[in-house]
């Protein structure tokens, strides 16, 4: 097409007028235009309007996804108007997106600890990962797990149902679990920079830790004798045992932090001396707020028996606990007051009375602490306030208090206490501890270089970078916040470390990225009714030291969760945060365009999450009406299970008629999940939401049917992954365009859900004994050798699954023929489907497709037979449907209605097993109407006999035998005798329900007769049930073939391979067929790889005379129970190898996980092989693939992704055959047999666990 010239952002480009602006800009890499409703696979739609661009001279902004260029067009992709429109569009979408990006718990944590995710990890038993996640943002889980104020729990959505999840106890649980053998982080190489941290409390040590993780040198200066700050000197032993704290501090120091105690800023050194003399590159000030506030009573400072709470607690630590008696009054309502009161009680006070000027409701102390204090006997005097000290000499004797009442604060603050006149009362006491507040001790700042302070004494810093007024000096924690929480101090420490690290690297403090998160509570109140589907579950109770054991000692009161308790508690988590955190396009743009939705908060749609489908969750709250799911379902898959309902603001995508998905014509393919740019349609993962954990892409090939669909694993860890194709461009561009069927989408779960077989074993008399791999292999080799000696090599049978890789299959072939010297190599799956190699020898030469999917889609007529699209091969059904849309006539031959039937122009509803008759009838009509090459008899053998064979099948007879109406039959014939029509047949030769023995032969006779083999857009597609059924035959895992379909008659080829193999192949390679009977007769030793013959009667019987059985499988099964040697097999994810699909496409996949068995399958087979022939060395997948290329004549030129033998059938018949022949056979009207349960475990899993749940 002729190019035109347009201008984008001031630069001229020649462009294709048929592409869209979006495509042009994206392909040329000019800009990253955001879009939500557009995806490459679908037609332009234009609804989200975030992809708008400005076109000069146009008042409107145009959606680039659906605008095509015109000559001379001038486009701006990032003008102010464009950015504003995109921002508004996103803000509007978020204003109606009733969903949480992350858990409110995580968001509300001052230290940003990802609570929801670590709870999920604990739930999965991943304690180490949970702990490491906590320590990513908080190095103090042991301490904070005991003393945190739990901002997370106050916003926990479970509060709306019953009580918050015990988030902090769970954190403590994983930290305690780690105590035995503490995990240590990797420290990178030194940066050469050093930082002084002033203050060894939570904030200082946190900052030090994260600076160390960046490779900086850190020295901590602490003015008190020991590190720990308020953790040590503010929190009593019974809440935070000091040996626990010591462990945690030591663990932090172990990263290589230097610490100096009893060293005070202002006294021992100054900021100047640190920066200029000692050569520190930066300073972090975390000096805390450790000075107690005054009650402002007369004689407060010169009366004995009055002490400030912080000092009291600190002295207990430094000087030891004092012995108290009499009544102790504690003034205040914060945590320090409660700590002081409970400590006083433990120091022997007869009674402890707490005086607080507001009511219990307003107390800042943690509720649980207050409760514990009251249980232990602390008396609480609420709405009371000290008025006057009553002294005896200069010692305190009693305190006179006033009763207070609360009045509403006009400014909306906490209610204000006001004294009630004349309500004085007196409490006698021996000691008064005043704990009414703390402030920063600012004496450190009395040096020439001073930091700016607020009037109330805290340090002034920049909010995002923690920089003080002095260059290179940063500050955080209580010194900035005033007396606040440990967790906030920790949060400051970490964020300051990031800022400082940036400063050290670039000279400028780095700022944290601006993030926008969607939260339900920002849009509307989250009500109880919308959470009503969650059961009420009681919060696990923290085991505590019995009350009577607490008095007069400082033993830890809270004893920690047991493993069971922790596990149970994790189940209470509602998993608010979104599973699609990383993949949500809306979220990505939200950060990029720095949104503020405050202008647009109004009504919001709320929906119950629809979880009725067993594997798909529909959360309409997250739907942005982009219609991608609907368009995918209707336009691409032609299913139309989803649609829009309602109008205006209420319009939303829903299943048809608002039914449950399962009640629509949904085929459970889950392609809507990939289509959804947000989390509105997601897979129901079999594990808890771990949305924020990073994930990797691994392209792979589906291991179910033979279509070879490409797919992408999203991997979070070795055992947490799922299939999601949207994130992998290569998969989206593969032949299946990233579309999958239910098997491909959800069948992978057997990999996660079934218990693996991991250890080799030798079984004698039913008793298994776990052995080493080496022993199992040696035992196998020995047993084979013995049997060969006794019965000859032909007594050994090797059986392989059609789901193994080409490399594995090839190597097994070599093990059998080159190693052991037996020709008995086969697959039980092929035996079961009755596939004999010789049947098609003289027509097309092998039971493979003569054409491919792309060619098929351009045919005029597509005929499917023996293929049940209700269950299998759905992706080819999609291709057939789109061929239909393009104008092809679709004819389906099937006894049952399938999912394709509604799209078929003609449904030939033959009786089961009568399709041979139908094709014979067709052949008869072709001959009768002379629609074939008149000289066909000269080219192809058996023509006269073919005529005889079909003679009896006149239309009346065919209609009678097949049970089809004359009208249907005539239409069928009319379509297929037409010489102009390019016809492709599609069949599944493993479908045992429909087929009779000679269906394929009869169909091939028709194709040969009409010259449609090897012609463009004509031919046959032979589908198989298993991912590498074609590869299995290609690799010669069949007694009749060597790799490359070499038959014994092809002497030169046999010799060529024999030379390559350095083997006496002619002696071994007899080509003798294998049947169940011949197996029973001949085989004494069987090696079974990846199949479960003991689940199938006829296979079991065929193994009746076997003396030695070795089974190698991924899972335990009937066959492994019977085997003498059991070998664990690496699964599909654990191997690198190539697979050949039904259209002869050779595709290669890489290993995603290391084999959990400890050994790669090729390595394992190679070990066995080494007992009989020289072993392979090197990178086995590569070495073997290379050898396959040399041995298999059809694979010589093939690169991964190619179709082998492109021109194989150009002669119109079998390659390398001098004269082809029509197949002659007795016509049967009996269907083959009902399908037995599959002998492959993954298929069995699919049938019971996936299909079963879907009621397919």
């Amino acid at each position: 097409m002729k190019k035109i010239e347009i201008t984008i952002n001031g630069k001229k480009y020649p462009v294709n007028p048929a592409s869209t602006i979006y495509e042009i800009v994206t392909e040329k890499g000019i800009d990253d235009i955001p879009t939500l409703c557009h995806e490459e696979r679908l037609e332009p739609y234009g609804s989200c309007f975030v992809c708008v661009v400005e076109v000069e001279g146009q008042k409107k902004l145009l959606p680039s996804c659906s605008t095509r260029p015109r000559e001379g067009m001038k486009i701006q992709t990032r003008s102010e108007r464009v950015i504003r429109a995109r921002k508004t569009a996103l803000e509007l979408l978020f204003s109606n997106h009733y969903a949480d990006c992350i858990g409110p718990c995580t968001h509300n944590c001052p230290a940003s600890v990802d609570a929801q995710t670590y709870i999920a990890l604990i739930s999965m038993g991943k304690h180490d990962e949970a702990l490491q996640l906590v320590k990513k943002t908080n190095p103090f889980p042991l301490a904070i797990g005991r003393v945190c104020v739990r901002d997370c729990e106050t916003v926990c959505r479970r509060c709306i149902i019953d009580e918050p999840v015990a988030i902090n106890f769970l954190k403590r649980y994983v930290a305690d679990a780690d105590l035995k053998d503490m995990w240590s982080p990797d420290i990178p190489r030194g940066t050469g920079k050093s930082v002084a941290v002033i203050g060894g409390g939570p904030s200082g040590l946190t900052c030090a830790y994260y600076l160390r993780l960046q490779g900086h040198r850190v020295r901590v200066f602490e003015k008190l004798p020991e590190l720990g700050g308020m953790f040590r000197y503010g929190i009593p032993e019974y809440r935070l045992p000091k040996d626990i704290l010591d462990r945690e501090i030591q663990w932090i120091l172990n990263t290589g932090i230097e610490a100096e105690c009893n060293r005070e800023l202002g006294r021992d050194f100054t900021l100047d001396s640190l920066l200029k003399e000692q050569g520190f590159d930066a300073v972090y000030l975390a000096v805390g707020a450790q000075a107690g506030s005054s009650m402002r009573l007369e004689h407060e400072d010169d009366t004995g028996g009055i002490v400030r709470g912080v000092e009291f607690l600190r002295d207990c630590q430094i000087k030891g606990n004092p012995e108290l008696s009499g009544t102790v009054i504690v003034v205040g309502g914060g945590n320090t007051a409660i700590d002081a009161a409970r400590t006083a009680l433990r120091c022997g006070a007869d009674s402890v009375k707490l005086v607080y000027r507001r009511s219990i409701k307003e107390m800042p102390a943690h509720e649980a602490e207050v409760k514990a204090a009251r249980e232990e006997g602390v008396e609480m005097h609420f709405l009371s306030n000290p008025k006057r000290l009553i002294r005896e000499g200069d010692r305190l004797k009693a305190i006179e208090c006033l009763k207070m009442e609360l009045v509403d604060d006009e400014k909306g603050g906490r209610p204000r206490p006001v004294p009630i006149a004349g309500s004085e009362f007196t409490i006698e006491c021996s000691l008064c501890i005043s704990a009414i507040g703390q402030k920063v001790d600012t004496t450190f700042n009395d040096s020439p270089t001073r930091c700016d302070l607020e009037s109330w004494g805290t340090l002034i810093v920049r909010e995002d970078t923690f920089e003080t007024s002095v260059k290179g000096v940063f500050a955080g924690g209580d010194a900035v916040l005033g007396p606040w929480t440990a967790v906030a101090a920790i949060g400051h420490g970490r964020r300051a470390a990031e800022a400082i690290s940036g400063y050290l690297k670039t000279g400028r403090a780095s700022k944290p990225p601006v993030r926008f998160y969607s939260f339900k509570h920002n849009l509307a109140e989250v009500t109880e009714s919308e959470l009503s589907h969650h059961q009420k579950i009681k919060r696990e109770k923290m085991p505590e030291l019995p009350l009577r054991e607490r008095k007069e000692n400082f033993d830890e009161v809270e004893l920690g969760f047991s493993r069971q308790q922790a596990q149970k508690e994790t189940l209470r988590c509602l998993e608010c945060g979104c599973t699609e955190y990383h993949d949500c396009a809306l979220r990505r743009y939200a950060d990029e365009y720095q949104l503020d939705i405050s202008n647009y908060v109004g009504e919001v749609r709320k929906y119950q999450v629809d979880n009725r489908h067993p594997f798909i969750s529909l959360d309409a709250n997250k739907c942005i009406n982009c219609g991608r799911c609907i368009r995918t379902c209707s336009e691409m898959l032609k299913v139309s299970a989803l649609g829009f309902v309602y109008r205006g603001f209420s319009a939303v995508a829903r299943p048809a008629m608002e039914n449950a998905l399962m009640e629509t014509n949904c085929i459970s393919c889950g392609n809507c999940i990939d289509a959804c740019p947000t989390g509105a349609i997601t897979e129901k993962y079999p594990y808890k939401v771990v949305g924020t954990l990073p994930r990797e892409n691994h392209a792979s090939i589906c291991n179910f049917c033979s279509l070879g669909c490409n797919l992408n694993y999203r991997k979070i860890s070795d055992d947490i992954y799922y299939i999601s194709n949207a994130q992998n461009e290569a998969v989206l561009r593969s032949h299946n365009q990233g579309y999958l069927c239910v098997k491909g989408r959800f069948g992978y779960r057997h990999l996660q859900e079934l218990d693996r077989l991991l250890k080799p074993a030798i079984q004698r008399e039913g008793k298994p004994r776990t052995v080493s791999m080496e022993e199992a292999v040696q035992h196998t080799q020995k047993r084979i050798r013995d049997l060969v000696e006794k019965y000859g090599p032909g007594s050994i049978g090797v059986f392989a699954s059609p789901k193994l890789s080409n490399e594995e299959l090839y190597l097994l072939n070599k093990l059998a023929r080159r190693g052991i010297g037996t020709n008995r190599i086969h697959s039980f799956s092929n035996l079961l489907s009755g596939l004999h190699g010789d049947r098609v020898d003289r027509s097309i030469g092998m039971a493979v497709s003569t054409t491919d999917f792309d060619q098929m889609q351009e045919s005029d007529v597509v005929v499917t037979f023996n293929t049940d699209f209700t269950e299998e091969n759905h992706i080819i059904a999609q291709k057939i449907k789109s061929a239909g849309k393009r104008g092809a006539r679709i004819i389906e031959i099937n006894s049952n209605e399938t999912k394709l039937t509604p799209f078929a122009h003609l449904w030939v509803d033959t009786k089961r097993g009568t399709n041979t008759v139908l094709f014979n009838g067709l052949v008869r009509e072709v001959i009768r109407q002379k629609c074939h090459d008149p000289k066909v008899g000269d080219r192809i053998d058996n023509f006269p006999r073919l005529k005889e064979q079909v003679e009896e099948f006149d239309p009346a007879e065919v209609c009678r035998l097949c049970g089809v109406s004359r009208e249907v039959y005539d239409e069928f014939i009319a379509q297929l005798v037409n010489r102009e029509h390019r016809v492709t047949l599609v069949t599944n030769i493993d479908n045992l329900k429909e087929k009779a023995e000679h269906d394929l032969d009869a169909a091939l006779n028709y194709l040969m007769l009409t010259g449609r083999v090897g012609q463009p857009h004509s031919g046959i597609i032979v589908l198989r049930d298993y991912s590498n059924s074609t590869g299995l035959m290609d690799m010669g895992v069949h007694p009749r073939y060597l790799p490359g379909y070499v038959t014994p008659e092809e002497k030169t080829e046999v010799d060529r391979i024999a030379r390559l193999w350095e083997a006496d192949l002619p002696a071994v390679f007899t080509g003798e067929e294998m049947t169940y009977d011949s197996i029973r007769e001949n085989i004494r030793g069987a090696l079974v790889f990846g199949e479960n013959p003991f689940s199938h009667m006829e296979s079991v019987r065929s193994l009746a005379n076997v003396e030695f059985l070795m089974v190698c499988d991924v899972y335990s099964c009937e066959s492994t129970e019977q085997a003498e040697v059991v070998l664990p097999m690496a699964n599909h994810l654990e191997k690198t190898g190539s697979f050949t699909s039904a259209e002869r496409r050779v595709q290669r996949k890489e290993r995603m996980n290391e084999p959990r068995t400890g050994m790669d399958n090729l390595e394992l087979i190679n070990r066995i092989y080494s007992g009989f022939a020289p072993a392979y060395r090197g990178d086995l997948p590569a070495v073997i693939l290379d050898e396959i290329r040399r041995v298999n004549r059809y694979y010589q030129e093939v690169r991964p992704g190619d179709i082998w033998g492109r021109d194989l059938f150009s002669a119109g018949h079998a390659p390398r055959v001098k004269k082809p022949a029509f197949a002659l056979f007795p016509t049967s009207t009996r269907s083959f047999r009902q399908k037995d349960q599959s002998i492959l475990l993954s298929e069995k899993y699919f049938v019971t666990k996936i299909k079963g749940k879907l009621m397919l």
Binding site: Y45, S47, L61, R84, A85, A89, L92, F644, G648
Partner: protein, 587 residues
């Protein structure tokens, strides 16, 4: 032959026309009179329905507001005895000369409405019906037809005013053997009923227009997409299609030529957006009525992917006239760029509501006062709302504006399909904007972000302004959102939805300010901003207001001044309306 014709358009029926018809038929039968009783469509003066016209063989007598009782009397006195009932008679002879409502009109589209029996193809044929198509098939090539329509200057009457001839030309030039014509009869604007009236009163004119259009572009199949809420129109269309097929005007080889045209009715399910042509086509195809991006335009890829021409009812009804009488006969009416006439649906606070067909270029003032007879109860004329929910408000001070496509567009309003709602001093302009926006918001198909959520947010702002919760920044926010919605919506619905808000903000900004800053609704229409009190000096203690109050907010002894408790008052205004002494004060 003596005749009685009774107006049985939807307006006539809802005024009791069927009952009148029954009575007349009975009366005529009882007395064995030689009078033919027929039905007809609406003449346009809907305010005067039920209309009954008696033709005594010489003169036409038009009675208005006829009831069964009156009808019987007409038969007895006038038909039987020859004594016209003077007080119910509104005209004798040609109405156009007699009644102000008709005097200022020029009727092309409505010419036969209310004059002929729409169920009779013969009556249509009798007034030159199907003469145009005969002429076209006999004399013109498709290209010539297109040229004549182009020359006439006819523009689409559905709203946007796209030149019809040009549209036909594009469809004619589009390659392909299979083409469609569609008549868009999905009239959805609140207060608009021009199309309904034409379909009910003269369906054959539309069908003839469609056959001509089909011939002009080379289509052999057509659809009339009519909303299911127009049962009478559908019924008459069905009759008309049946008659046409019977006469050989539709089907294969029509009018004895080799031209084939088949026409079907498709009933719409009542979604406003289906008036948008791409949504309309999706709806015919059996899909959800949602607009799609253009290009490709329907003329290139329309129904089922084939070139398609879509015209509105009124546009098509003009076509036979133009082809029969020539372009000049048409464009001698109207202005230079807006030729011909336009039918307006006059509604609201005007005395004479109904349909008026006027030449383009007439002033708003003339329509409201000369045709409409001025404002009800002679209140103050405040504004007209033109063009339905996609249109805008034009204030009374601009009443001398000459109405044509381009002049209207300059004001921020649009011609639209021709709805004209007259507003008086009691109309709150903020509330009005809210009303129209509620309509468009509910009718948005929900596809585009700005239309779906943006209009919702605008509506919420209007709601809070009416509720007295508006903020000063709201006016800017409204304007900003409105302008963004206009520039970033796919179809006309979204692109025009903010118009009522923008025009009221432009011409009545003071009312917004009153609501937001002074917390006052000067039209006393927003309940939250109105307070009712009782003037003790005027109150006579008649207790009427107390009895009318639904919440017992008014108390007081008989013959003593009453008191209204504002905490109970729900501001329904019942007391205000009930008081005979002006003692209830509304502020």
């Amino acid at each position: 032959m003596k005749e009685i014709m009774i107006g049985l358009g939807t307006c006539g029926i809802s005024a009791g026309g069927l009952e009148v018809m029954k009575t007349v038929k009975e009366a005529v039968k009882e007395r064995n009179l030689e009078v033919e009783v027929k039905e007809t469509g609406c003449m346009g003066n809907c305010y005067a329905e039920v209309l009954l016209e008696y033709f005594d063989g010489k003169d036409r007598f038009l009675y208005s507001r006829v009831t069964s009782e009156k009808a019987r009397k007409i038969v007895e006195e006038h038909v039987l005895k020859g004594n016209p009932l003077r007080d119910s008679l509104i005209s004798v002879g040609d109405v156009a000369d007699q009644i102000d409502f008709f005097k200022n009109q020029e009727r092309i589209v409505l010419k036969n409405c209310g004059r002929i029996d729409p169920t009779s193809i013969d009556e249509y044929l009798a007034c030159d019906g199907y003469a145009a198509i005969r002429k076209v098939l006999g004399e013109y090539t498709p290209a010539q037809v297109v040229d004549i329509v182009k020359e006439s200057g006819l523009r689409g009457r559905g709203g946007a005013g796209f030149p019809t001839g040009l549209k036909w030309q594009l469809a004619l030039q589009a390659p392909g053997n299979k083409k469609y014509v569609i008549c868009n009869a999905d009239e959805g604007d609140p207060g608009a009923f021009m199309d309904r009236s034409v379909l009910e009163g003269n369906p054959h004119a539309v069908i003839e227009g469609m056959i001509i259009a089909a011939y002009a572009i080379g289509a052999d199949e057509g659809y009339i997409y009519v909303r299911a809420e127009y049962p009478k129109a559908i019924e008459r269309l069905r009759t008309a299609l049946h008659d046409c097929t019977r006469k050989g005007f539709l089907g294969e080889g029509i009018f004895d030529t080799d031209f084939t045209f088949n026409l079907k009715i498709k009933e719409g399910a009542g979604a406003f957006v289906c008036g948008e042509e791409t949504a309309l086509m999706a709806s015919i195809e059996g899909k959800r009525g949602m607009p799609r991006i253009r290009p490709p335009f329907p003329a290139q890829k329309g129904l089922w992917g084939k070139p398609t021409n879509i015209n509105n009812v009124e546009t098509l009804a003009n076509v036979p006239f133009i082809l029969l009488n020539g372009a000049r006969a048409f464009n001698r009416f109207g202005t230079e760029k807006s030729a011909g006439t336009k039918v307006f649906a006059l509604a609201g606070k005007v005395k004479h509501s109904g349909l008026a067909e006027v030449p383009m270029g007439i002033t708003i003032h003339d329509i409201v006062f000369k045709i409409g007879g001025g404002i009800k109860q002679d209140k103050k004329f405040k504004a007209v709302q033109m063009g339905g929910p996609s249109g805008g408000c034009i204030p009374a001070r601009m009443a001398d504006l000459k109405i044509d496509y381009d002049e209207l567009k300059k004001t921020g309003a649009i011609m639209g399909s021709g709805g004209m709602i007259v507003l008086d001093e009691d109309t709150c302009m903020v509330d009005l904007a809210k009303y129209f926006l509620t309509f468009t918001q509910n009718e948005s198909c929900g596809k585009c972000t700005f239309c779906r959520i943006g209009t919702k947010r605008m509506l919420e702002i209007l709601e809070r302004i009416c509720d007295g919760q508006g903020k000063e920044s709201d006016m800017d926010l409204l304007e900003d959102l409105a302008n963004q919605i206009i520039t970033t919506s796919l179809c006309g619905l979204g692109q025009s939805a903010p118009n009522p808000v923008l025009t009221t903000l432009k011409y009545f900004r003071n009312e917004y300010e009153d609501h937001i800053i002074h917390k006052k609704c000067t039209a006393h229409s927003c309940p939250s901003l109105v307070t009712y009190t009782i003037d003790p000096d005027k109150c006579t203690g008649c207790t009427l207001c107390a009895r009318k109050c639904p919440t017992d907010a008014i108390t007081g002894d008989k013959k003593k001044p009453h008191v209204l408790d504002p905490s109970l008052c729900i501001k329904c205004g019942n007391c205000y309306d009930a008081c005979n002494f002006d003692a209830v004060i509304r502020t």
